[in-house]
Homo-oligomer: 178 residues x 2
DNA sequence: CCTACCGATCGGTAGG
DNA sequence: CCTACCGATCGGTAGG
């Protein structure tokens, strides 16, 4: 709190005329970020499209929020542990609701044949963890824009590393020789 | 330190007859884990095989170390930030060496056509971040063993979610009709 | 490994 | 928003 006061150019005690406690700052950051993530995915899912397309847009929306303010993102992703009850439980249930949005996209992609995946819960977790690492290395002046990062992430998570197209084209290539 | 002493059944001051400082504990955990990760990947890469196979084994080895002791893994992944110099720099260079092992596998897979990926550095980062999330939810008595987790992770990261085989088989299926 | 401490720092309050 | 302060807790030491 002394550091914060210093950065603001006021005395430490004066902070408490603006907020009730140190934890209030944590709460505000965590729930403001949660709100931003929900607004972003709402916009991403607004139009009716294929699961692949909805997932692409959800990934781009998530990366956009993450990179907008990497410090707030770090608080949202790590410091929520220090929330006291009942905020702690509220946070957890919001996070699960958000993850469920990704699970739902994956589930619909499985049922219509767009996706093949062993476990939708596991898949959602792996996707989100891949996205969430971004905040640790993203630099606003780096060579990749948030949109480019999202494109690369989408490419990796949807298609994987394996050159499957190539392998399958090889498999079928004898059929194509004139 | 008081909590630690309590758990050990001794007085707080007595801890200091075993260690020099609180930070020494952090150092020991961080560098012991680093050593374990290197030993695991050394074993995984010992035999000459395809890049796909080496990556599979490296993933399994990494997940094995992560799940062996999730609390130490959490310290290794997050608390290293509090290391003071020169340990902080040493840690960072070890981590980069480790990541380079994954980049090297990916690079060799690209050059022999096993992998197709836009950026090997980006790919290595995304793989590792997908793996490193495991420590937050893994439970020794859960339904997935470390080996099963590794298999699922490998499947997702190598092949992605998209049902590409199916899509390509559809593309070529007219060629197969008798 | 313990008793007896210490200086520094922490989040926060009273009263203006 | 400030001055003046407080009780609690922190990592750690001296000396046995």
């Amino acid at each position: 709190m002394r550091d914060l006061a210093n950065a603001l150019g006021i005395e430490a005690a004066s902070i408490y005329s603006h907020i009730k406690s140190k934890e209030e700052i944590l709460q505000r950051v965590c729930f403001k970020m949660a709100q931003e993530f929900f607004e972003a995915i709402d916009a991403a899912e607004a139009t009716e499209r294929s699961a692949t397309d909805r997932l692409k847009r959800a990934i781009a929306a998530h990366v956009q929020v993450l990179t907008q303010n990497t410090e707030a993102a770090a608080v949202f992703l790590h410091e929520w542990r220090h929330l006291s009850e009942p905020m702690h439980s509220t946070y957890l249930s919001l996070r699960d609701k958000y993850e469920a949005r990704f699970r739902e996209i994956i589930r619909s992609g499985i049922s219509n044949g767009e996706f093949t995946v062993p476990d939708e819960k596991f898949a959602a977790l792996t996707i989100l963890s891949g996205l969430n690492w971004t905040h640790t290395w993203y630099k606003p002046n780096g060579k990749m824009t948030p949109a480019e990062i999202a494109d690369n992430l989408t490419e990796m998570l949807l298609n994987g590393l394996s050159t499957k197209k190539q392998a399958l084209q090889d498999t079928y290539s004898h059929l194509n020789t004139p």
